[in-house]
């Protein structure tokens, strides 16, 4: 597919504003991404307090290193999501490793399995929130409201063909949550566009 040459203007301006030390820009950054960051961290770590900590780390990192974001590489949103994912998975692995060393229960394989599962779940959340609204709406109806595709089509005011297409496409997108990069599990998440 065609990649956009210019990243969204907002992303570039935000980076410039952060770089020149505008506190108001930091507030706007938080307003736009805090629930994303906190939600992903919470999905990985399953703990409110730990998610607060990751949220602090992520925004501090962006504020202190705005130049680390390269607008040519993709949207700021996916960069922030990738950063959050990496820090949260790191934290989870560190927590689990410490627990393993302390209690000696379980194995490294089980640990990696848990980390991987948390990582995939967070990525799936991200994909759902980032997918086009029509696809998300179709999945919402079919899965959470238990509507069949004909009812989904009627609810959305689209053809049955279109409803089937959206359900399939939505699941195809979601299934990419399992795709991980060549490196260790979950550290190269598919936060699309952030490559």
């Amino acid at each position: 597919m065609a990649r956009r040459d210019a990243p969204p203007r907002w992303d570039r301006k935000m980076q410039q504003r952060l770089a020149r030390g505008e506190a108001a820009a930091l507030g706007e950054l938080y307003d736009r991404f805090a629930s994303l960051v906190h939600g992903l961290a919470h999905r990985v770590l399953g703990d409110e307090h730990a998610a607060d900590g990751i949220t602090r780390e992520v925004f501090a990192h962006v504020w202190e290193n705005p130049e680390a974001y390269d607008p040519k590489q993709g949207p700021l949103r996916s960069w922030v999501a990738t950063l959050t994912h990496r820090l949260a998975v790191q934290r989870l692995r560190a927590n689990e490793t410490a627990a393993l060393a302390r209690d000696g229960r379980g194995s490294t394989e089980e640990l990696e399995h848990r980390v991987r599962r948390a990582s995939v779940a967070a990525r799936a959340d991200y994909i759902v929130t980032s997918m086009p609204t029509p696809l998300r709406a179709a999945l919402e109806l079919a899965y959470f409201q238990r509507r069949d595709y004909r009812q989904t089509a009627a609810d959305l005011g689209v053809t049955e063909d279109e409803a089937r297409r959206r359900l399939r496409l939505g699941l195809q997108l979601l299934s990419t949550a399992h795709d991980t990069g060549p490196s260790a599990a979950g550290t190269q998440p598919g936060y699309g566009g952030g490559r």
């Binding site: 505008e22 089937r164 399939r168 795709d179």
Partner: protein
């Protein structure tokens, strides 16, 4: 969830132009990851009737599935074991039940044939209507669908969102089509990744903590003036509330309440109408800063109420959630602009029509109104809403206390104040009678209010009365949400002076 023709929920984008662009980017972005062909074509999304994009993406390279198909299909069937239609499948189709070749032939069917002679042609099934047994469900004719159609059904199938006949047809097909079986598995796994959304109620105090932590680590070159911080925090809090409410709740009725000439007044509107009100009145500050006026209709007067009425009437339709974007964008712009203007801009006059406030107080006033109306909205949609942080609450109370002398003078001019015998007019700058306002709770404090004229100096030596009330109660009074008679205030001293001050506090309220 909104359909294609609904307003997209506002997601905090700053510029309207950026909104569509980023959305498109996302379609491309996510699709690019897993190599799901065709996903990136955003034109597809809204095109009813378009289909088939990506049909061929997985048809190739899956021919080597022969050995796995049965296994995969079995796994799929196992997972579908809980589907409600499964137990009934086969009813009316089982040849061993309800009469069939295995049943003893009915007498008339056997007539004319010698006993024991093997039937060379299978005997016709007896009609179930003749047996007196309950009628089975009519067996649907098995669906025969093309590969293309079955493939398009895979998503609905994985979600158990197609008819039993279609599900059977898909499952039969999976046994013979490796490409589809492969995708079916993948989509089934994906269904397992759908979670009910977590309640994302972010702790509203987290924002302040996170931002403070950042600014500690790297001090800003362009800080937000201290007097603009309450507005920044309160607009962020209200926006978080708006994020959580559904389409219908935007139209929930809200009654705006205030005091006018010592009498309660009110105006009915909706949640969206309240945000329109905030947008238009915040616009007074925008105007003072040289930003665009959100109101492009003529108003009877430049005051908050007339501007709001003009905004509401300018549209043939009541406001919807689409008002959130412009309101939020303006709020961000105000904070950003005053930050650039610097702390010294705090003296810049902001006109409210009938009166003026310096910018620093206008921003506090807007923070206060933002909280008060957020409370109105929260009540209308039945959400909890906490008071501002103690520091911000204190700044708001301080503004109210500083505005009281002028409000007292206005009441005197309007003939509303009690003309007590003890009334002295004192020259500006001279100490005069004073009331001690003691505000309890977080964010509270003590203020000495000069009673005789705005120019008089408050003096502890001339204290004639002492009022004590809770900080939030004082704010409710100043917002016109609690009447002066009902305000829970501890009182000591000159009754008339106390009454005047409480009514003056209520008179600070406006639409």
């Amino acid at each position: 969830m909104s359909g294609t023709n609904r307003f997209d929920p506002y997601d905090g984008h700053d510029g309207h132009d950026a909104h569509g662009a980023e959305q498109n980017d996302w379609i491309g972005g996510v699709g690019g990851v897993g190599g799901v062909g065709g996903v990136g074509d955003d034109n597809e999304v809204d095109g009813p009737g378009k289909h088939g994009h990506g049909e061929h993406d997985r048809s190739d390279g899956h021919g080597a599935h022969d050995g796995h198909e049965d296994y995969e299909k079995r796994r799929l069937d196992d997972r579908r074991g809980a589907r409600p239609e499964d137990p009934d499948r086969g009813t009316g189709r089982d040849p061993g039940r309800d009469g069939g070749p295995a049943d003893p032939p009915p007498p008339d069917a056997a007539a004319g044939r010698s006993a024991g002679e093997p039937a060379r042609i299978p005997k016709p099934r007896s009609s179930v209507e003749d047996t007196g047994l309950p009628l089975p469900e009519p067996a649907p004719a098995p669906l025969v669908l093309e590969h293309r159609v079955l493939k398009a059904l895979l998503g609905a199938w994985a979600l158990a969102a197609c008819s039993p006949e279609e599900a059977t047809a898909v499952e039969d097909h999976l046994g013979g089509c490796g490409a589809c079986a492969d995708e079916a598995l993948r989509l089934r796994d994906a269904v397992g990744l759908l979670h009910p959304p977590e309640s994302l109620d972010l702790d509203p105090t987290l924002r302040t903590r996170v931002l403070a932590g950042c600014l500690d680590r790297r001090p800003p070159r362009i800080p937000v003036p201290e007097w603009a911080a309450p507005y920044d925090a309160e607009s962020a809090r209200l926006d978080a509330l708006l994020q959580d409410i559904g389409d219908a709740e935007w139209h929930a009725p809200v009654r705006l309440r205030w005091f006018e000439g010592d009498r309660p007044a009110s105006r009915r509107t909706t949640v969206a109408g309240v945000i329109a009100h905030l947008l238009t009145v915040d616009g007074l500050v925008a105007l003072a800063l040289g930003l665009d006026d959100p109101l492009d209709a003529p108003a009877k007067s430049p005051g908050p109420a007339d501007r709001t009425e003009a905004f509401w009437q300018a549209s043939r339709f009541p406001p919807t959630r689409s008002v959130r974007g412009p309101w939020r964008e303006q709020a961000h712009n105000l904070v950003r602009t005053v930050a650039f203007a610097g702390g010294g801009s705090g003296r810049l006059p902001v006109s409210y029509g009938g009166f003026e406030l310096p910018l620093r107080d206008a921003m506090l006033d807007r923070a206060f109104e933002c909280w008060v109306h957020a409370g109105d909205i929260a009540e209308a949609v039945d959400y909890p809403y906490e008071p501002p942080s103690p520091r911000n609450l204190h700044a708001m109370i301080d503004l109210g206390a500083r505005m009281l002398p002028t409000a007292l003078a206005a009441r005197r001019q309007a003939g509303l104040a009690v003309p007590g015998q003890t009334r002295h007019l004192v020259p500006a700058g001279a100490p005069g009678r004073s009331l001690r306002l003691e505000i309890e709770g977080l964010g509270g404090g003590e203020w000495l209010i000069p009673l005789d004229s705005p120019g008089a100096l408050a003096s502890p030596d001339r204290e004639v009365a002492h009022v004590a009330l809770d900080g939030v109660e004082f704010c409710q009074l100043a917002a016109g949400h609690v009447s002066p008679e009902e305000a829970a205030a501890g009182q000591l001293g000159d009754r008339d002076a106390i009454r005047d001050v409480l009514f003056a506090a209520a008179s600070l309220s406006r639409m």
